[in-house]
C-alpha cells in the first residue's frame, strides 16, 4: 500500500514538477522501476460521441505518428490501432462517429486464448502484447470481439524506442503506456482530440472516484460496446 502511495504521489507530482524539470523524451523511461504497477489504479478512456466529429480523424493521425504506424498503401494489411467508426441506425438514419480501439478489457479474450501468454493485462488495466514472446499465431485476432488488433505483415524500419514493433507479431493500442508510465496522464489520441477543441476523448483513472473520468461517468453514465460479452471494458462511450 505504501508503494501505491508513492506511485500516486509520483504521478501527482509529475504534472507540475515533471513538466518543469524533464525535457520531452526523457519521460520515455521515467517510470521508476522500483515503483510497481499497481491495481489501485485502472486506466481507462471515456469517449463522448456527441463531441466526436465525423470528418475528424485527429486521434487516428496522432496515434499513427506517436507509434510510427506507416501507411504502406495496403489498407487490408496496414496496421490500425485506432480507427474512426461510423454507426448508422437504419431506423431514422441517426449517424454517430466514434474512435474504436482496443477496449482494454478486464476479462480480455485475447489474453485467454494466447498460447504463450504474450498477450497480457497489466494490473493497472492496460492490455499489451509482449513482443518477445508473441509467435504470431493470430489467435488473439480471431478472439478479439472489437477487431482491435493488427498483424505486422512486412519488415519495418525506423522504429521508435518507446514503441517496439516487428514483422510477424501482433499489436494493438497500448493506451500510450509509455506516456502513462512517464506520468503524462494522457494518451496521444486524447491529447490530439483536446488540441482540436473537440474534447471527445478523456483519459483517466477509473478507480479514483475524484478523477474527471469517474465523475463524468457517475454523472452521465457510460456504455460498454458489446456489454453482453461481459468483458468489463476500460474504454467507455457516452451518447451511443
Amino acid at each position: 500500500m505504501s508503494l501505491d502511495l508513492t506511485r500516486r504521489e509520483f504521478l501527482q507530482g509529475a504534472g507540475a514538477a515533471g513538466a518543469l524539470t524533464l525535457a520531452p523524451g526523457v519521460f520515455l523511461y521515467a517510470k521508476d522501476p522500483e515503483v510497481p504497477v499497481t491495481d489501485a489504479v485502472r486506466w481507462g478512456l471515456l469517449v463522448d460521441t456527441r463531441l466526436c466529429q465525423e470528418d475528424c480523424d485527429a486521434c487516428v493521425e496522432a496515434c499513427n505518428e506517436e507509434h510510427n504506424l506507416e501507411d504502406l498503401g495496403r489498407p487490408e494489411t496496414d496496421a490500425q490501432w485506432i480507427r474512426k467508426l461510423t454507426v448508422r441506425d437504419p431506423l431514422g438514419g441517426r449517424t454517430i462517429s466514434l474512435p474504436m480501439m482496443c477496449q482494454h478489457c478486464e476479462n480480455p479474450p485475447c489474453v485467454d486464448v494466447c498460447p504463450t501468454g504474450a498477450s497480457f493485462r497489466r494490473i493497472d488495466g492496460i492490455v499489451l502484447v509482449d513482443k518477445h514472446t508473441c509467435i504470431g499465431c493470430r489467435y488473439c485476432m480471431m478472439a478479439c470481439p472489437y477487431k482491435a488488433r493488427s498483424f505486422i505483415h512486412e519488415n519495418l524500419t525506423e522504429q521508435l524506442p518507446h514503441a517496439p514493433r516487428g514483422k510477424g507479431c501482433v499489436e494493438s493500442c497500448t493506451m500510450c503506456v509509455h506516456k502513462v508510465d512517464a506520468g503524462e496522464n494522457t494518451t496521444a489520441c486524447a491529447e490530439a482530440c483536446h488540441k482540436d477543441g473537440h474534447q471527445a476523448i478523456l483519459f483517466g483513472d477509473l478507480n479514483d472516484p475524484d478523477s474527471e473520468i469517474s465523475k463524468r461517468i457517475r454523472e452521465f453514465g457510460a456504455t460498454q460496446i458489446r456489454a453482453d460479452l461481459g468483458l468489463n471494458t476500460g474504454v467507455r462511450y457516452q451518447n451511443l
Binding site: P90, P115, T133, I135, K167, G168
Partner: protein, 399 residues
Amino acid sequence: MSIASVRYATLDAGRSYWGLLAVLAGMTLVGLAGFLHLEHEGHWITGMNNQVVWGIPHVFAVFLIVAASGALNVASIASVFGQVTYKPLARLSGLLAAGLLIGGLAILVLDLGRPDRLIVAMTYYNFKSIFAWNIFLYTGLLAVIALYMFVLFQPAFARWTRAAGILALLWRLVLTTGTGAIFGFLVARQGYDAAIMAPLFIIMSFSFGTAVFMLVLTAAGRGSGRVLGDALLFRLKNLLAIFVSAVLYFVLAYHITNLYATEHHGYEAFILNFESLYSKLFWIGQVGFGSLVPLALFYAPRTRTCRISTHVGAGLVILGGLIQMYVIIIGGQAYPLVLFPGMEESSSFYDGVIASYVPSIWEFLLGFTGVAIGLIVVVAGLGALGILPEDLSDPKPAS
C-alpha cells in the same frame, strides 16, 4: 486370415518406391523455399490480412489434424472393439495418423509470424488457452501412437493392445474436441459461437480420416502388388457412408439451431442464401460433391459394388472436407464482427463489410508441403517397418 497367421512385410524399396519418395521430397523442398520467401517478405505477399488472419494454410492444417484423428478409426475398431477383420490394418492406421498429424503441425508452424520462436511456443504456456492445450494434445497423440505401435509390434506385449488402443481412442476424441473448441470458443464471431462445433469436428474426423485411409491403403496395396479384397474395401466404404451421413446431419443441426436465434440470421443467410462465394462452396462443394454425390456412389445399386466408384467417392469426401474447412475457417472470418447489433457500421478497417480474401500461391505451397511431409512419413514407414500385411485379399471361406 487368422491374426496369428498375419505376416507383415516392408514395401520393396524398388525404383518406383524411391521415385515416389524423391517426388515427395522435391515437393517439400519447393514448399520450404516458398516458406523462406514468405518468411523474408512477411505475410503481405499472401492473401491473408487483418480481416482474414487464418487462410489456406489453416484450411490444410486443420483438415490434416482432424483427418489424423480419424485415421485411427481402424485401429480403434480393431483394438478396442475387437473387430478381427480390421486387426491386420491397425499398424497402417497408426502410421497414417502420425503422418497426417506431423504434416498438419508442420503447416501450422511454418505459417507462424515468428516460426523461429517455436521454442517459445514450447516453453511458455498459458494454461487458459485452448491453443496451448492443443499443443500438448497433438504432441501427446504422437507419443500415444508410438506406444500403440510398439505394443502392436511386440508379441510379448500383445495383451496390452487393448489398453493402448483405448488410450489412443480417448486421446484422439479429446484432441478433436479441442480442435473444434479452437473455433467454438470464439464467442464474438457469429459463425463459431456454437457448442456443436466440438462434436461436429469429431464426426468430421471420422469421415475424413476413413476416406484418406481407404485411398492410402489402396495405393499402398497397388504399389506393392498386394490385391486388396473387395469385402475389406466395401466394408470400409459402408463405414465411410455412415460417417458422411452423420456429418451432414450435424451440419444440418448446426444451421437449424443457428436459425432459431435471430441474432445469427445474418450469418446463416451469408452461408445459406447461395449468393456469397462461401454459400456456393457450401452447397455445391461441401453438400453436393462432398456429401451427396459420394453417398449416391456408395449406396446406388449400380455403383455400390464398383471399386472405382468407391475410390472416387472417397476422393470426393476429402475434397468436400477441404471445402468444408474453407467455409468454416475463411467464411467465419469474412463475415463481419457485429459491434452494434441492428446498426450499419463502416470504417477504414472494413467494419460492416464482407472481408475479401484471395488465396495466394505461397499459402497453397505451405499446404502442399504439409501433405508431402505427411506422405513422406507414411511412405518411409511402409518401407522401413512391417506395416502392411503380406496378403490383403479377402479370407477364403474355411474349408
